[in-house]
Symmetry: C2
Subunit: 418 residues, 2 copies
């Protein structure tokens, strides 16, 4: 019998409880022994709920309990989660978590502490919810040279963008619908501003390179400014718009950005709709591998935590190595990233605008859509950011254009010769 404690009986915590109960036979067969929740930490009472009889509001009850070998942290956020996890490891308990803030901020340090003590610190559910991605990255793909990690890592924004693109809603309407369905929180900032995706990208990149990627250094833009015009012109060129987390590991260094991007409708990631997530990993020998699935939600996320619990139950005496040192990895400056872009401008003189764009930007074609007259859009060269900005600055001098140009980058998988 393996005894587990769950910290926090919120969405994920109660999900872990439910998965362990409902899948008891599968889990016992897999772990070769029953897994039982001995304690659940929460300051709230849950009268009438079966969890009631194992509830405690005192963490010391769990730390002192010699029976408990594995702690599943499901409080979320940095504190008290970080202190609790550290104390758990110091009390010789294995830990698993779905907490991406904790993992990206303190993952390397907690892995080192776990290793030092022959324990495990696992976090499959911190990226991609129910999609097995952390374990494949750690076990299957890191024997190869990873050159790209990218994907749609946030279900809330993907739901909103799917609504905007399919049912022609504007951002506010789509957000309201997502909130109504429980896909978006009341305060949706972390999702819609891209912070959540950005942290998950930093975790995947850190695992790929074995060093710490500082998520605060990743250029991040949210989806709040996207308009129906963006979708209309993107569609015209054959693209959909997704909030992409885009990491490349090149011979020059590491690139990372989390921004709304155009992705061609022939690419499988363009099919990742609604609350689904999709991750693309590119490695030199293995080539492209993609993983799709539910990136959030109570049961998929909890299932991933339970897969960690089972994995730990089979490695109680052995640290499962993750190559992820506390050493910082520098990111290349955004100005050097070569991406093609869709650029859209409003003009006051159509003829001059056309000829200036032709002259300075040399696009293959310039597009107008009757519904959005007074605007032109084109696809830029695949060139560094600073080059595009420089060209656009020259264009702006003409006074033919109204307001700022709208720039949306285009996602391309990493080329293996880069």
């Amino acid at each position: 019998m393996i005894y587990v404690a769950i910290l926090g009986y919120g969405v994920v915590g109660s999900g872990i409880w439910q998965v362990l109960a409902q899948n008891r036979t599968y889990i016992e067969r897999k772990a070769s022994q029953p897994i039982e929740v001995k304690r659940v930490l929460d300051t709230r009472k849950f009268p009438g709920n079966p969890v009631e009889k194992v509830l405690t509001s005192d963490y010391a009850d769990i730390l002192k309990d010699k029976d408990i070998q594995i702690i599943a942290e499901a409080i979320g956020g940095l504190e008290p989660a970080y202190s609790y996890v550290k104390q758990a490891l110091l009390a010789n308990k294995h830990v698993c978590t779905s907490n991406k803030e904790l993992v990206i901020k303190h993952g390397a340090e907690l892995l080192a502490l776990a290793k030092e003590r022959g324990l495990n610190f696992m976090f499959e559910a911190s990226v991609g919810g129910g999609i097995p991605i952390v374990r494949p990255m750690n076990l299957s793909l890191t024997t190869d040279e990873v050159i790209g990690v990218a994907g749609i890592l946030n279900g809330t924004t993907n739901y909103i963008l799917t609504q905007m693109s399919m049912v022609n809603k504007n951002f506010e309407e789509a957000l309201a619908e997502a909130q109504e369905r429980g896909y978006a929180e009341k305060n949706p900032t972390a999702d819609v501003e891209g912070y959540d995706s950005c942290r998950k990208l930093a975790i995947l990149l850190s695992l790929a390179i074995g060093r710490q990627v500082n998520y605060e250094a990743i250029h991040t833009e949210g989806i709040t400014a996207l308009t129906q015009e963006d979708f209309a012109f993107a569609t015209h060129f054959g693209y959909v718009i997704k909030l992409m987390a885009d990491g490349r590991i090149t011979s020059m260094g590491i690139e990372a950005l989390t921004v709304p991007m155009l992705i061609h409708s022939s690419h499988p990631l363009s099919m990742v709709a609604d609350v689904f997530n999709g991750v693309l990993v590119q490695a030199r020998m293995t080539d492209s591998v993609m993983f799709f699935g539910r990136g959030a939600g109570k049961l998929p996320t909890a299932s991933a935590v339970v897969s960690d619990i089972v994995d730990i139950s089979k490695h109680l005496d052995q640290h499962i190595e993750h190559i992820w040192s506390t050493e910082s990895a520098m990111l290349l400056p955004l100005s050097s990233y070569r991406r093609q872009k869709m650029i859209r401008v409003s003009f006051n003189d159509r003829e001059r605008a056309m000829s200036l764009i032709q002259e300075y930007m040399e696009p293959a074609s310039i597009v107008e859509i009757s519904e959005y007259s007074g605007q032109l859009a084109w696809l830029s060269q695949c060139e560094p950011e600073n080059k595009t900005i420089e060209k656009l600055a020259r264009l702006a001098e003409s006074k033919v254009f109204i307001g700022e140009p709208r720039i949306l980058r285009i996602f391309e998988p990493t080329k293996s010769d880069e």
Copy 2:
């Protein structure tokens, strides 16, 4: 230092050699020690090739060598691969393999033998080439109740079907092109008749249910009979045609078939093109998870074998459990499988044909395509096979139809309430 032997220096064997050499630093970091090929078994000579100095044609050289802890079997086929792997385990050596014939025929038995001796028998590369699928099935998804395993598991046929559908080639032309590019073998039977996909489906289903699925009991049809008409009518209804391996685990029992199927163009698996593979796993809590990547090819396949070597190098004293007993799993009879179908017929009396189809089959619509006049097609009800066959038999009595009706099943993910 971990010493490895490779059995067979063909495509996969030489790939394993290359991956171990080229990714030496990544692998050493991951395995926490260098991994070195001490012996390669092959009866051929490879003059001038660096492998020359470790070549042997005598398997006893490897079995007797106490330094060698891991054997990578890359001979393929049943014999001598099976005898060699068994001897390796009996000589206390861990084994990994990419050999699907071996795995589906003897996997359960070899796993039991490995377990008994505290060794490992691993086979990540036997399904989906470079796609991490066996390990996720074993570590992440089997703590959940798997209700469906399906996918495009053969790159050769997928390349041929992509050519037939995109560039309008017929089967023979597309096969010739695939052979020219090295995607199809001179004798393409195992691929084009679906035998290869069928074995891989049997492996995935066996892993999902923990019992032995007899691949010979799986209803299997190849792609050789597909015509341009099939593609044209499928396109009309919004579908593409793929060779699908389709497994369902229902409360009634297990369904499995490997046949060309229509898959709706809004489903991500429809985007799996060329030599790529795609696998869909459905589990009750985790919901749908999909894995895409290169299902074959020297380096992707070899990378997967090397991921097994590294995994074994970290579990030299511990058997990694796979739940897969030698007990047989019965399949439900094909006649009971409920699938919607596209049915196409030729007629000698259009009016009577239309009215008979309306009366007996009750389709939502009946479609004609001007290029293929004299034919009608419709989508059937979602009903058991025997029901459709019964209705078609009644239709045939009318003598209005010429030849046999063409039936193509439509792929649908398993419904979770089934």
